[in-house]
């Protein structure tokens, strides 16, 4: 037998609670635990992730930082110099003279800078190789 129990409203908190508390329960499939344990065992058997080689990288980062610093200082120097010369010469100075004196020292100075650049490149390559292939 059915009886009218009144104008219950789902807006009523109790009614909402009743509806939403009665969510259907599902059962895990029969092989779920086994498949999770398989995945866990695979995870445990896998070699641990290779940690980032901070020690080796640090040398490279320091050298890279120094090189960046040098380039930055040289760049600022060039800008300041060219700005100063531009104001005196009303922007009519030729480009080579805007370079700092260290770049205008002739063949010997150029050779020194070239050697330094090559040395820096060699160090970068060596460090990269060391990082890529370990200590070999």
């Amino acid at each position: 037998m059915r009886r009218l129990i009144g104008h219950d409203q789902i807006g009523d908190e109790n009614e909402l609670n009743r509806i939403l508390s009665r969510e259907d329960e599902i059962l895990p499939s029969s092989g779920f635990a086994v498949s999770v344990m398989d995945a866990v065992r695979r995870e445990a058997a896998a070699p641990p992730p290779i940690p980032f080689p901070w020690k080796s990288a640090m040398a490279g980062l320091v050298v890279g930082g120094l090189a960046m610093g040098l380039v930055l200082v040289a760049g600022i120097f060039v800008l300041v110099q060219s700005g100063r010369e531009a104001t005196t010469a009303h922007f009519s100075m030729p480009l080579p003279s805007t370079l700092p004196p260290m770049f205008n020292g002739g063949v010997e100075a150029a050779a020194i800078w070239t050697v330094l650049a090559l040395l820096l490149a060699l160090i970068s390559v060596k460090l990269s190789m060391r990082l890529a292939f370990g200590r070999a």
């Binding site: 059915r2 409203q9 909402l16 009665r22 969510e23 635990a33 344990m37 866990v40």
Partner: protein, 187 residues
């Protein structure tokens, strides 16, 4: 479910006995799958998400500081993962505005069938904005315990209460026709 069993199993797993993890899986597979199901309403996806929770649990067992019971930590981890998964690939839903209420909420016998009404309400919950939906899901999953829902969501209890209240309000406003329906019940 015993907190002592959980702690014992965790200690064994951390000491290197992987098989002890099976105890944790067997104890918590039901709740974790059901919680996932409430988020996505897709059985297969619920199991996939629950499996991912167990894997993450295994990886981070050492991070469980025993200041909270294991289940609290586990549900917080699961809730976090389910929420991000659902943000990444949302469950199939339709906008709240297009959920059709029954044209006449009263069937021929004079009352709306409970099943249809319950379904309409659950669908409406499924399309609420995430923060209200998540608060409602967790609140009812934890048997209407605000504190547990707040711990799982990593939110203050006051925030959860406010979201529950706003979520209910939105449900009421979106399903007005169901509010004034006389209900018949088996005597």
């Amino acid at each position: 479910m015993s907190a002592i069993d959980d702690q014992t199993d965790v200690e064994r797993v951390v000491a290197g006995d992987i098989s002890a993890f099976e105890g944790i899986v067997r104890r918590w597979q039901g709740p974790l799958i059901n919680l996932a199901y409430r988020f996505c309403h897709d059985r297969g996806r619920a199991e996939e998400m629950a499996q991912e929770v167990f894997l993450r649990t295994y990886r981070s067992l050492r991070q469980w500081r025993k200041d909270a019971v294991f289940s609290t930590w586990l549900f917080a981890l699961a809730t976090n993962l389910y929420r991000s998964e659902l943000r990444r690939i949302p469950a199939w839903t339709v906008p709240l505005e297009v959920i059709a209420e029954p044209v006449d909420a009263r069937p021929s016998d004079g009352g709306l069938e409970d099943h249809d009404r319950d379904l309409a309400v659950r669908r409406a919950v499924g399309v609420l904005p995430a923060k209200y939906r998540e608060a409602l899901i967790l609140f009812y999953f934890h048997d209407m315990d605000v504190a547990s829902a707040a711990r799982s969501l990593g939110l203050p209890e006051g925030t959860v209460k406010a979201r529950l209240s706003r979520g209910r309000e939105m449900l009421r406003s979106k399903l007005p026709q169901l509010l004034a329906v006389p209900r018949l019940k088996e005597a």
